[in-house]
Amino acid sequence: MKFEHYGIGIAKGMALTFKHLFRKPITTQYPEERLTVSRRTRGNELVWDKERCTGCATCAKSCPEGCIEIITSRGEENNYIVDKFEVDMGRCIFCGLCVEACPFEALFMGYAYERARYRRQELVMDKEALLLSGERQPSGYARPKIEAGLPRQTLLLDRDKVKK
């Protein structure tokens, strides 16, 4: 005579949850503890290299949302001068296609993630706002040289060492 459904399943489950009382919580206390994001993170706000950009507008053409706007004028040495380079970060979907498409490595995804704003207008970034600065570092997405120099990503796998 086989006995089942007499409460053993409930007991097993309760044992498991009890075991979890003694495991380390996996919570990260965010503002105090910070995890390092991936080297390839597609973080907030594009970073633009003024020197390298030739104004070819490949990025604008590759953008699925059409949020990059470039206006150029003809320069003296048969080159383009970028008059306007404006990105509406409010419409950006962070797909990274523009960065991949850039033939001169003049555009980077951002490495930061705390770039919230209070107004939508502030999300529209012009030439000056897009330049590299202390809090606006480029990420290694599609840029292997930068990727090599960034710190290692923290993984939950490393922190949660419970079972084999």
């Binding site: 309760m14 380390k24 206390q29």
Partner: protein, 367 residues
């Protein structure tokens, strides 16, 4: 606890002497105790659930998040009080009060210490059963007064469930009363030279399950099942009135924990530590068990809940009553340990026997 020693160890039922003083002091004590314990319970449950779920739980307000209940209370009190336009305003307004008062009234007969209770009624436990079943009226009023289909479903479930579970609840208490030979809570504690959970394991299990159903705790939390009917009867409540329902929930848990402690775990009795502390420790232990269950298992369906009460708990409670009666009459007190093991064996046997009645896949109605 000097205040307890100030009073004679046992109070006669008609409260001779400082009637008003006694009354006033204990009302204050109970109110403070209940409020403080509810705060403690909320914190304990949230932190404990957090740890069960490999997270931390609230830990920002105050040291270890101890002030979290206070912060919640302040937040909820300054919120807007919304009354549904088509609701029954009076019923909607009265419901939290009607639900809260009986929950608080239970504490009148809970002994925190030998003789330290508001009213040592000689029908103490009967009073508890009677008063605690009034709370359902408040819940039904809330469900009705809100004029919301979800609340009404929740309220209907509540009534059906609570009425059913009153019976096994009361029957399982009778076993304890038979052994103790008294209905007074204080006498029951005094009768427990060993905790009654050892003599009445089946009674304890039935009481625990039925009480969980009475106070709407998992796996019987159908009336506020957040994944089905969102919040059930208090879906339309906000602000102060919502806080009242929140208090009711924890007040009832506290009351049930205190009653289980009194009936089955030997109340304030215990070695070394002062009685009041023993009482608290046991109450927290019972509460831990309640939310441990909550953290683990899913919720039953309404027909399964009803079937469980009538087909499982009620017959088991009757069997328990008969067995206890025979033991009390036939077995000499010297055979205490034999009785203990006998009862444990009966529990195992009955659990295995009843598992044979467990049927899967039922519940579909042809429409």
């Amino acid at each position: 606890m000097a205040i307890f020693n100030y009073y004679p160890q046992t109070l006669s039922p008609d409260w001779p002497g400082g009637y008003w003083l006694h009354w006033g002091v204990f009302v204050v004590i109970i109110l403070v105790f209940v409020m403080a314990m509810i705060m403690g319970f909320i914190w304990f449950e949230r932190r404990g659930l957090g740890r069960f779920q490999v997270r931390l739980g609230p830990n920002r307000a105050g040291p270890f998040g101890l002030l979290q209940p206070v912060a919640d209370a302040i937040k909820v009190l300054i919120k807007e009080d919304i009354i549904p336009a088509k609701g029954d305003k009076l019923v909607h307004w009265l419901a939290p009060v009607v639900a809260f008062v009986p929950a608080l009234m239970i504490f009148a007969v809970v002994p925190f210490h030998d003789g330290a209770l508001l009213a040592d009624l000689n029908i103490g436990i009967l009073y508890v059963v009677a008063v605690s079943s009034v709370g359902v009226v408040g819940i039904f009023m809330a469900g009705w007064g809100s004029n919301n289909k979800y609340s009404l479903i929740g309220a209907m479930r509540a009534v059906a469930q609570m009425v059913s579970y009153e019976i096994p609840l009361a029957l399982s208490i009778i076993g304890v009363v038979l052994i103790a030979g008294s209905l007074s809570m204080n006498s029951i504690v005094e009768a427990q030279s060993i905790p009654f959970i050892l003599l009445q394991p089946l009674g304890f299990i039935i009481y625990f399950l039925a009480a969980c159903a009475e106070i709407n705790r998992t796996p019987f939390d159908l009336l506020e099942a957040e994944s089905e009917i969102v919040a059930g009867f208090h879906i339309e409540y906000s602000g102060m009135k919502f806080a009242m329902f929140y208090l009711v929930e924890y007040c009832e848990v506290l009351a049930i924990s205190a009653i289980i402690t009194t009936l089955f775990l030997g109340g304030w009795r215990g070695p070394l530590l002062p009685p009041f502390l023993w009482f608290l420790i046991k109450v927290f232990g019972v509460f831990f068990l309640i939310f441990w269950v909550r953290s683990t298992i899913p919720r039953l369906r309404i027909d399964q809940v009803m079937a469980f009460a009538w087909k499982c708990l009620l017959p088991l409670a009757l069997i328990n009553l008969v067995i206890t009666g025979i033991e009390v009459i036939a077995l000499p007190p010297a055979l205490l340990w034999t009785v203990m093991f006998l009862n444990l064996a009966i529990v195992v046997l009955l659990a295995l026997l009843w598992s044979k009645f467990f049927r899967l896949g039922g519940g579909r109605v042809e429409v």
